[in-house]
């Protein structure tokens, strides 16, 4: 079965579940069968969160297999590293580089891998890796709250789907008064990785 498989990772509270919901719905709207599966656990208390999203003509399992992940969309660098074993040699990675220290690090029991080491691993792991500081960009255009929409904008430029579909799906989930800001965030993200904005 020919499917496109995504892994979305992050930390509870970052909006990664919403992002994976959007990604799955974009797939459906683009004409694919789409499925997704979340692993939450106690994520609301700051744990790791991950979702699998799959697009295809017909998707059976909501969970992809090791080595099947074509795209890794990571909202946090350490969580990006956790996703690496599921990738293959030509996987494409987009990582938000702002770290969130887990309690094991802030309490001094463990150390957070240095940023250049993370880039080295992600850069070699698959076919291509892109790094952005989405939070900083989001603050620059008006609010840290649009960080994940900005991430999705950047991610959308890596996929061959009409940006109008992305915009529709994203803006339908946003309160009326925040529509303009989110549209700006989406296009800002898109331009970051060289996508057209139409």
């Amino acid at each position: 079965m020919n499917t496109t498989n995504f892994l979305v990772t992050g930390v509870g509270g970052q909006g990664t579940l919403l992002a994976s919901d959007i990604l799955a719905e974009v797939g459906m709207r683009a004409g694919f069968d789409a499925k997704k599966s979340d692993v939450l656990g106690l994520a609301i208390r700051g744990g790791s969160v991950s979702s699998h999203v799959r697009w295809g003509e017909k998707v059976a399992s909501p969970v992809a297999r090791t080595g099947e992940i074509d795209y890794l969309l990571a909202f946090e660098p350490l969580e990006a590293l956790r996703g690496v074993p599921l990738l293959h040699k030509s996987s494409i990675i987009l990582c938000n580089m702002q770290p969130i220290a887990p309690i094991s690090v802030s309490s001094g029991e463990a150390s957070y891998p240095p940023s250049d080491r993370i880039r080295e691993i992600l850069g070699r792991a698959g076919g291509a890796a892109y790094y952005i500081d989405a939070a900083q960009e989001a603050i620059r255009i008006g609010s840290v709250r649009v960080t994940n929409v900005l991430m999705l904008g950047a991610f959308s430029s890596l996929l061959d789907v009409d940006p109008a579909i992305w915009e529709d799906v994203i803006l339908a989930r946003v309160p009326e008064k925040h529509v303009d800001l989110n549209r700006t965030a989406f296009h800002t993200g898109r331009v970051l990785l060289g996508g057209d904005t139409r």
Binding site: K36, I44, S61, P62, V63, K89, S104, S106, A110
Partner: protein, 600 residues
Amino acid sequence: MTQRLLSGNEAIARGAYEAGVQVVTGYPGTPSSEILEVIAAQYGREIYAEWSANEKVAMDAAAGAAYSGRRTLVTTKQVGMNVLADALLYTVYTGAEAGLVVVTADDPGMFSSQNEQDNRWYARLGKIPLLEPADSQEAKDFVIAAFELAEQFDTPVLIRTTMRVSHSKSVVIEGARASVPEKVGPFVRNQTKYVCTAMWAKKRHPIVEQRLIDLADYADRASFNRVEPGDRALGIITSGVTYTYVKEVFPDASVLKLGMTFPLPKQMIRAFVDSVDQVLVVEELDPFLEEQVRAMGIPVIGKDLFPACDELLPDTLARLASEAGLIDAPASNPPNVEALPDLPPRTPVLCAGCPHRSTYYWLAKMKVPVAGDIGCYNLGCLPPFNAQHTMGCMGASIGVLHGMAIAGMPERAVATIGDSTFFHSGMPALANMVHNRGRGVSIIMDNGTTAMTGHQDHPGTSWSLHDSDAPHIAIEPLVRALGVKKVRSVNAFTMQEVKDGLDDCLAYDGPSVLLVQGLCVQISKPDAPSHLVDSAACIACGTCFRLGCPAIVKSSDVVEKTGRAKAEIDPIQCVGCDMCRQVCPASAICDPRQSQAGAR
């Protein structure tokens, strides 16, 4: 025809709506909670929805609603079925005037549960028809079909999902709502059917047995079950989400896809088995299908190959099947990484501003035995507290505490239990402790909500799913009414008060209650400014780190003599709860509001 991407839980909610369900009850529990929440939020005008005090109350209320002629749904997580079962099993004998369906959401992999029990056994134990949807479309369709089945055979019906069905999304085609009775009543007075006293229940039992035979016959004709013909060398019997994994891993095999897994369609199984060379039963957790198929005299490969523990994800399935020579080894194209560094774990922690923190800080210091319970506060078992020594099920803490005392354990011990859990099943244990002259401190940690499962209401909250001004029960007069003589109420955010309350209760020789009150930070959303550490004053003693607050981090500033890191507060995470300022022995932590006032 609307096509939407729904989670299994959202699809069950939609199915209830389309089936003409009018009453839904349940107690929150992952991975089941969203069903009732979605019903209340999206279909609250058409469907009465309530969070009941516990699963048994939910089931009794559901029975009463179904006896009254309303189609009724009950939702629970897998371990909630143990609480609910007493009530469910009498409805097997009584049947009802309208459809009665129970959804149990199981948790293979134990993402948020204390065990990995397989609730399909309840179908056999209770002699209840069982449906297992594989995806969201089936979840919706099976709910509608379950109500028809329930009414056709006058039986409760069990629908069993697993976390991967409940929390996965797939495409669902929506339909219209069935017509519903506007009025009900008068209440049917059919004593020989609805009063399960021995003389009448004895006459109901043969009806239940005959119903099972009829249901087995129905299963052979039901559209829930289907054969997907393929390569005859290998035939796979499977159900639930595991079916979707089978389709990935064995794309060419013949598959008998069971949607109704109790009673089994025996003729269909025999015909399928005869059509293939080798039979594999692929199921997560227990050999529920396998044992029944083996009992038919059919040799199969099942749990001798696939484990009974954990999820049976496509990766595991493919690895074991290829090791057994059933399929070729999956192609491998691993990423260009020799070895990852050791990645620091990201375990869940009590939130910054959590009211439970003060209690566990002192319990860790006092080193008393702690009987724990189910809720966010179970995180008190982890570092830096390590202050919880038992935890088993909802409401267990007070009973376990009582057990320590009656066994003659000389140490003074405590139980920790949340407000929702106390109303769920802690109250009878406290009454029992009083009546039997027990001893021990029951710490009721009242954060004003059922926090862990997503902030649902309970009998102590001033709101409910259908009422913004709900009658609510205050815990302090309640425990006094239960006969507890020693009761202390303290503010969770005042460290010394919590300490004094604990000391006072621990010194008391009898049953006592320490009521620790403080709203869950997720619902109180405090707007206090974040606290600051005066680095010059910090002596790096580590006291504040023992609060286990994610906002208190080790700074790069080190005290030279000891080599220990000073503290620093992350202004984004800190909500100014003030506990750290109160425990700091060097007065190095300040609330910016107080220091400004001081400067003036």
